[in-house]
Symmetry: C2
Subunit: 393 residues, 2 copies
Amino acid sequence: MQQSFERLAIDSHSNARRGRLTTAHGEIDTPTFMPVGTQGSVKGVSPRELHELNAQIVLGNTYHLFVRPGLDVLKHFGGLHNFMNWDGPILTDSGGYQIFSLAKLRKITEQGVEFQNHIDGARAFISPEIAMEIQTLLSSDIAMGLDECVPYPCQYDYAAQSAEMTTRWAKRCREWKRRKDEMAKPELADSATRRRADSMLFGIVQGGTFEDLRKESAQAIVDLDFNGYAIGGVSVGEPEEEMMRAVEWAEPFLPGNKPRYAMGLGTPPQLLELIARGMDMFDCVLPTRLARNGTAFTAAGTINLKNAEFILDKNPIEENCACDTCREFTRGYIRHLIKAEEILGLRLITLHNLHFYLNLMNQARAEIERGTFDQFRKAFAAEYKTRDVLRVE
Amino acid sequence: MQQSFERLAIDSHSNARRGRLTTAHGEIDTPTFMPVGTQGSVKGVSPRELHELNAQIVLGNTYHLFVRPGLDVLKHFGGLHNFMNWDGPILTDSGGYQIFSLAKLRKITEQGVEFQNHIDGARAFISPEIAMEIQTLLSSDIAMGLDECVPYPCQYDYAAQSAEMTTRWAKRCREWKRRKDEMAKPELADSATRRRADSMLFGIVQGGTFEDLRKESAQAIVDLDFNGYAIGGVSVGEPEEEMMRAVEWAEPFLPGNKPRYAMGLGTPPQLLELIARGMDMFDCVLPTRLARNGTAFTAAGTINLKNAEFILDKNPIEENCACDTCREFTRGYIRHLIKAEEILGLRLITLHNLHFYLNLMNQARAEIERGTFDQFRKAFAAEYKTRDVLRVE
């Protein structure tokens, strides 16, 4: 199977695009939201439920899976699809983000990064090439290059040196992929090798909050010719304007015929802003993480079902919502479950929240096709009253 | 609708019966297992999943629901069926068991029991009549009389006095129900009142571990003429032989044309033993509680999926099991989920364990019909290697 990205419609009022990405495990309609399956499971949700929600792709966290259950186990089970029984596309991150946010005693060199994991403290080393090997072993449909994600705030000099190193690492990832593709040519390879070569590799733009660094990084990464491009180093605690600027600075350098992925983002209004800025793919822990705290998304903003105002509320979380939770359960019942720490409560809110995010992408795609995305985005933002602080896992 | 109990087949080698109990919310094939919905939710399981598991009735804990969300909320939502969105039959306990095991500062008098709940310490008083009112408000299909469940071990004198008080309480519950039924007569009542009167009331046999007390209690309770009879005061820490004896002593006094409920029991082999001793209905937290600890039921006994031996195991929890968990997931993956504290892990084991219990009842019914229950029970016991300590919530 050949992977490809098609643009089906382009918005005339913004950079929004309606597209379709073809992977070895199926098609993805963009703009798309990718539920986060940190440890080989989208928290609280079964693969069957993901299909029922019309999720077209899930994200797997390489670092978490590397630490637990570990590569031997994932290899034994033939990759992440088989292990978690998800037959749709999987995007894996490179592990870099979590190494820099979770692991202990990190030592970064040109060669790669040495660290002790946060579970049992075992030492490990990941280089760009090893990150590629691991994601191949995970049977990833879309692999990410190893990058360093600098914190916010960050000194200019550090951000500059780091972005340059990320580019050199990206080059090594690209080179690794080129050799892999070479080996997979029909005249040389068996079918398993060819199948592994169906995976895509995305490059990651870094550069912190600095315009020249973001632009240089974007140009350098694009020059390496990846299957798609990601904006990294966002959603690390910076103000929303900085996040938007990071995307705006890089976007003009990204080729229109390749998918663009804004990493770790965002709130519902942010997603629409990012779509307007030409982004196609998103992942975010907000819908699943906030659900575990009793928070549900609605068109009017988030509500916390723990609040006493919902005790006697016979309405669904959101009027006219088509999700199973809203068709079957009241706010009052879900509030009781959350207060009583019943697992079903967070399950029901998680399903609603994922539906909300996935449906928002569905609406965005339809509005782009219809040429009305601009009005839709403004109307949505006007009705949506709350802002949630982003924290990423 | 008229509630009724039919015996469809009687085992010639034991006291086992295959029956059908008709309630206002549907039919229940007996022997039956009732998943426990302590706080208005079978832990981790949705009503849709309960239907898919072919659960025909669930149990609601009156004490837990009385404490949280409280009667005002349940009344506002029109009872427990509406509140939890379960349209099948519900059996509610009287609350007595949890008052005696969970609440603080209990004071038992002839009139009833005063207690402080274990959540916020609020004081409350429950009499036999109030227990009836509460269960009516919960829209219970099968209500239980208020009883005192004595601990194990227990002095003879205390057990005797307690069983006698339980009988006097049972008489008050029966009297309450008779007045209710009277008021619900077609010429007097509106349809809502008649519907409420469709509920059944079961009497509970007590008497601790003493033969004469069990027999006296059984005779006295049966003399009051309930819709069904329960053996209470079992599964309180006594040895298995004592549990079986308590049932054996009472059973000859129970009319054959009424359902019999062995409360809070038991392990899979115990259920088959109790069926052989003429019991029809069971509830137990083992399948859901043990699942949360990583323990799964199989025909060979329980296995704990946390064990390292399952790390690379590509088999389902149980070979040839028809449940969704076993059709879709490996032991190795479920082990990973449990070790990583992923909610999906306990969900998957819970579904399997409930399927195991419900399917065991399904098999028992078929074997009784076929006249082969005795061989089935012996073969099952021979293959089942583990014994689990019972602890009840």
